[in-house]
């Protein structure tokens, strides 16, 4: 963030004369400021609130149309504001595009600056080294040039980047600090780009699949599809999955009775229509990966199989019908059977499936999630199911507004048992049950780059914290007679000033390193000019 952006000098009177370029520059500076980024982030959070309060088209279109029916005055107004499609709304896009621009506009220039700074040679040595935080003066019998050559060699050996000038050596180390910083910033951009990539060309979908059935990964094969902004239906990877068998095991005794012990879905899949099928055992948290798409097992339930014969004797319904669990402890599940084309009138059934049916105070309940004693209990209706008006319906809801209830004794059905409908309307047979799984299909090509970027960002951050950028300056002067230091020594040829500076010493420890450096320098100078006496430390900090 560019919190350190200097405010334009004399802004108050400059504002009067701001031209177009000035205004643009001012706007850009405002946009890329840290404050703006934070405000945008807050706005993004604020803007997603309606997405959780109001039903959303991409997630539950049925609920949206119900909302339209319940609030005929308010709903069209909200609809115009894209309140039912918040995450696809232009104003939502505006916020995240601005946020993206703000972050990119802040991080990119910083990355360039860091890259430049990482390549720079050490700066000129300051004139007055004694003003720096760490400094000492040494005297040595060696000449100034010799002393500087020696110091420069010593620092280079310690992997300082060195530069020699007239009477001085300047050395710098810890460029990895800048490199780490640069890596962090670039990785941050990478992270943004990865997230954007996922949002643009990724998609998420759900599908409920009954054992024995096959589904195709296509806009029509998925129950719910939330595509990225650049995804069209033809872009989905054309794989198919067949569910052969679903196995659930539960703890059968003890305090954990009824808790799931194992879920496994035996699948077969292929990557394109007609390709050979490959088997896979799908388990919770172990997704199947097809063509880069991850398929997760996220739920399961029962699909009782019903066969309905109408008043003419024709079989008008014969299939497994997914029922949706109402609770997890006993997997009591609710569902409907719709037979719009039965004669003389359409038929509908609504009820529950009880995997392990027990009577509790005269009411039916399920005592265990496995199908130990499966029963269904249904209410029968006849009439118009309201499906011919073209208004799409949920397959889990029966619209009974134009139907009437049939007088059928409410007896729970065991597999193989039937309800005979009154007035020669036919009969329904509960033939047994199959299990279903619900699959979450996610394709996020940005996921892997995002992981790499996040790791790189963390590594860069650690590097930039762990490594200090530090500078050491050395000036050597021919000792003159009036120098108090020279006077004190028998034969000093040069006075050497050593100073150290660190830019970011959050971790501390430069003082010790500096002292060690000075000690080494003293040793090195000693070896160059083994004088009668060792160079003398004169002045500390």
């Amino acid at each position: 963030m560019t919190a350190d952006q200097p405010a334009p000098a004399g802004q108050t009177d400059a504002q009067v004369r701001l031209g177009l370029a000035g205004w643009l520059r001012w706007g850009w500076r405002q946009l890329t400021s840290m404050r703006t980024a934070l405000v945008l982030l807050f706005l993004l959070a604020l803007a997603s609130i309606p997405g959780s309060l109001l039903p959303q088209e991409g997630i539950n279109p049925q609920a949206v149309s119900q909302y339209y029916a319940a609030h005929p005055a308010l709903a069209p107004f909200l609809g115009r504001l894209s309140a039912f499609n918040v995450f696809g709304a232009p104003w939502f896009a505006a916020i995240y595009l601005l946020l993206f621009t703000s972050l990119a506009g802040c991080v990119l220039p910083r990355a360039f600056r860091l890259a430049r700074s990482a390549g720079q040679p050490p700066p000129n040595a300051p004139r007055h080294l004694s003003r720096l935080p760490h400094s000492v003066r040494l005297s040595t019998p060696a000449g100034p040039d010799e002393a500087l050559a020696c110091a420069s060699g010593m620092l280079a050996a310690r992997r300082f980047r060195t530069r020699r000038g007239d009477g001085w050596v300047s050395a710098e180390k810890g460029y990895l600090h800048e490199v780490g910083n640069l890596v962090f910033h670039i990785a941050l951009l990478g992270l943004l780009a990865s997230v954007a990539l996922g949002a643009l060309v990724g998609y998420k979908g759900n599908r409920l699949l009954v054992a024995g059935d096959t589904f195709a990964n296509s806009p029509t094969g998925l129950d719910v599809l939330r595509p990225g902004r650049l995804i069209s239906g033809g872009d989905l990877q054309p794989f198919s999955i067949t569910l052969d068998r679903f196995t659930a095991r539960y703890v059968s005794a003890g305090p954990e009775r009824g808790q799931p012990a194992y879920f496994g879905a035996a699948l077969r899949y292929n990557t394109s229509p007609g390709a050979p099928m490959r088997p896979y055992n799908l388990q919770v948290n172990h997704p199947l990966i097809v063509d880069g798409v991850r398929v997760f097992l996220i739920g399961h339930g029962y699909a009782p199989v019903f066969k309905v014969t109408d008043g003419t004797g024709a079989v008008v319904y014969d299939q497994a019908t997914p029922f949706i669990p109402l609770e997890q402890a006993g997997l009591t599940s609710a569902g409907v059977v719709k037979v719009p084309d039965a004669r003389p009138e359409g038929l509908g059934f609504a009820g529950v499936f009880l995997p392990t049916a027990v009577g509790v105070n005269g009411r039916l309940a399920s005592a265990f999630p496995a199908a130990l004693f499966p029963r269904v209990s249904l209410v029968s209706y006849a009439g118009n199911l309201g499906m011919d008006g073209g208004q799409p319906q949920s397959v889990y809801n029966l619209d009974i507004s134009r139907m009437h209830q049939l007088a059928v004794r409410p007896v729970p059905l065991a597999p193989g048992q039937s309800i005979t409908l009154p007035q020669g309307r036919g009969k329904l047979t509960f033939q047994g049950y199959r299990q279903w799984v619900s699959l979450a299909i996610t394709y996020d090509p940005g996921q892997f780059p995002a992981l790499i970027s996040a790791i790189a960002a963390l590594a860069g951050l650690i590097l930039s914290f762990a490594v200090r950028r530090r500078r050491v300056f050395i000036r050597a002067l021919q000792a003159s007679a009036d120098d108090e230091l020279a006077a004190a020594e028998p034969a000093p040829h040069a006075v050497v000033e050593v100073a150290g500076l660190t830019r970011s010493d959050a971790a501390g420890g430069f003082e010790e390193e500096f002292a060690e450096l000075v000690g080494q320098l003293r040793g090195a100078l000693d070896r160059v000019a083994p004088a009668s006496d060792a160079p003398v430390l004169v002045k500390g900090e």
Partner: protein
């Protein structure tokens, strides 16, 4: 388990609305999902006509019909084919069914074929009896026929109706419910086409909808 609703499975394609007007465009990328028509209104969606010369070849479609007979689309080369993807559970399919059945009777020279997806043969047969549908439908519960159209003009919603020309190329697509008048106009246009002759720039608007 947020899939309690399976309403207009894949509501209409919103970006396609823009393409309806741009009929001369060689290709049209449809965005699915974010639509807001399909389920609030009456299933009217979008359509696209491909001028001769920019038509994708329909895939090799074969399978068994709901009555168990083998079917191959290639056998219909030389005829104009109307391929309708439907399901007995799908309310817009139920609403468009009378129009399709009537058009099939009006154009005996056009081959009408259904592709019944995500459905059971018993419910589908009851649907065909109820709407007096005279043409066969492929039994495609796993949508393998629909998936075969990947890379050409894949169905974006149920119902989707394709009109395939005499050379086996996809001449038009309608996502969502078709109307009698709209589909009749498309069929007549494709019947007038001469195979291999580029009727460039010709098209129509709004075959779908009431």
């Amino acid at each position: 388990m947020d899939r309690l609703a399976r309403p207009a499975r894949r509501p209409a394609a919103v970006a396609l609305a823009a393409c309806v007007t741009a009929v001369a465009a060689a290709s049209c990328s449809a965005r699915v999902g974010a639509a807001n028509q399909g389920f609030v209104g009456a299933g009217a969606a979008s359509s696209h006509y491909y001028p001769a010369g920019s038509r994708a070849i329909a895939p090799h479609v074969r399978g068994r019909t709901l009555t168990g007979l083998p079917f191959s689309l290639a056998a219909d080369r030389g005829s104009v084919v109307v391929l309708n993807f439907w399901g007995s559970w799908c309310a817009p399919c139920r609403r468009e069914a009378p129009a399709l059945a009537a058009l099939a009777r009006r154009f005996p020279q056009v081959r009408f074929v259904g592709d019944d997806v995500h459905d059971s043969a018993a419910s589908a047969a009851a649907f065909q009896r109820a709407f007096n549908v005279g043409y066969p439908s492929l039994n495609d519960p796993g949508e393998q026929v629909a998936l075969a159209f990947h890379g050409t003009v894949p169905p974006q919603a149920i119902p989707t109706t394709l009109v395939i020309d005499r050379s086996g190329r996809i001449a038009a697509v309608m996502f969502g419910e078709v109307s009698y008048v709209g589909l009749r106009a498309v069929i007549e246009t494709v019947l007038r086409d001469r195979v291999g002759q580029a009727a460039a720039g010709r098209g129509w608007h709004g075959a779908a909808g009431a």
